[in-house]
Symmetry: C2
Subunit: 198 residues, 2 copies
C-alpha cells in the first residue's frame, strides 16, 4: 500500500492574502475584533495558521492589512456612489448610500474598531475623499464649503450611530430593526433640505 501524497491547494500570493483577509473580515464583522485570533482566521480561510504568518508576518500584520483594505473599500463605495451623477435628485440618495456603507457593509464596525483601538490615524486617506465631495458635487449644488463640511460631519456621525446600534436600539424599544434607519433617513433628509433652502 503506497502512501499517497497530500493534495495541496496552492494560490497566488495575492489570492492567498485575499482569501485570508476575507476570513478575517467575516470574523470581525460577526464576532468582533477580539475574535481575530490567528488560529481562527486560519481555520476560516481553510489554511494552516503558519500560512497566515507566512503571508502577513504576524497577527498584527493581518489586522493592519484588514483595516487598510476595509478603509479603501469604504471610501471607494461611497465615492463611486456620490461622485458626478446627475445633480438632480441626488440629495435623497446620499443618505441611502451613507447608511448602506456604514450598516450593511461593516463601515460602522470598522470605524468603531479603529476608534476603540486608537488607530484612527489610518483614516487620513479619507480626507482627500471628503474634499473631493465638498469641492465637487456639493459645490456644484451651490453649497458653501463651511456648510458642506458641517453637513458631512453630521451625516457621517448619524450613519455611524445608526449603522452600529440602529438595529439593537430599535429592537430594544420594540420596533422593527429597520425603523431606526428609516427614522434617521427621514430626519436627515428633512434637515438637509431645510439647511439648503434659504
Amino acid at each position: 500500500m503506497s502512501i499517497e501524497p497530500v493534495r495541496r491547494l496552492r494560490r497566488s500570493p495575492e489570492a492567498a492574502r485575499q482569501n485570508i483577509l476575507e476570513a478575517a473580515e467575516r470574523l470581525l464583522l460577526d464576532r468582533g475584533p477580539q475574535a481575530l485570533k490567528l488560529v481562527d482566521v486560519a481555520k476560516g480561510a481553510g489554511v494552516a495558521h503558519a500560512t497566515v504568518l507566512h503571508h502577513f508576518g504576524s497577527i498584527d500584520g493581518v489586522q493592519t492589512a484588514l483595516m487598510e483594505q476595509m478603509i479603501r473599500q469604504l471610501v471607494v463605495q461611497i465615492l463611486t456612489a456620490v461622485r458626478p451623477v446627475d445633480p438632480a435628485e441626488q440629495l435623497e440618495s446620499v443618505g441611502q448610500v451613507l447608511f448602506d456603507a456604514f450598516e450593511s457593509a461593516g463601515g460602522a464596525r470598522l470605524a468603531a474598531w479603529l476608534e476603540l483601538t486608537g488607530e484612527t490615524r489610518r483614516l487620513t486617506i479619507v480626507r482627500a475623499a471628503v474634499e473631493e465631495v465638498i469641492s465637487g458635487p456639493m459645490a456644484q449644488k451651490g453649497i458653501a464649503p463651511e456648510t458642506a463640511t458641517n453637513l458631512i460631519l453630521v451625516a457621517v456621525s448619524l450613519a455611524m450611530g445608526v449603522g452600529l446600534i440602529g438595529r439593537s436600539l430599535a429592537e430594544l424599544v420594540g420596533r422593527p430593526p429597520e425603523s431606526t434607519r428609516q427614522a434617521a433617513l427621514d430626519f436627515l433628509n428633512a434637515g438637509l433640505a431645510a439647511a439648503l433652502k434659504p
Copy 2:
C-alpha cells in the same frame, strides 16, 4: 535583623470590587476592550491578579460586572437630567445631556463594546427608561408616542456616532474636535423644533 511582615491594604469587598472596576473602566476607555487583560486590570487597581479573580471569579466576570455598572450609570445620568424638570426650555438641553453622556462619559464606547461583542441583550434595562421618557416628559409636551420613539431613535443614534467618532472625524477634515458635536447639536435641535411645530 528581623523580617518585617509585608504591609497589606485590606478593603471591604464592595470597595475592593469598586476599585477594580474603576481600573477596568479606565483601561476600557482609553485603550479599548482588548486591553482588558487580567494582569493589566490588576496592575491598574494596584492588586495581585489573584485578587481580581477572588472578587469576580474570572476575567469574564470582570467584563460583565463592568458592563452592567456602566449601563446603570449611563441610564441614571440621562434619566436624572431628562426627568421632570421645567418643561420649558428643556428641549435644547436634551441634546447636551445626550451628547455628554455618550461622549465625555464613555457611553459611546460602552455601546460600541456591547455591540461588537454581541452583548446588547444587557441593554434591556434601558427599555424601561425609554418608556419613562416617552410617557413622561415627552408626553407632557404633547408628543405622540410614535413620534417620540422616532425622535429618540434618531437622537440616540446621532449621539452615539458623535460620541464615538466625532472628534476624530473633525480632526480628519481639519476642524477643531468639538465642531462635530456643535454641528450635530445644531442639526438635532433644528430637526427637533421642526418636527414638533406643526
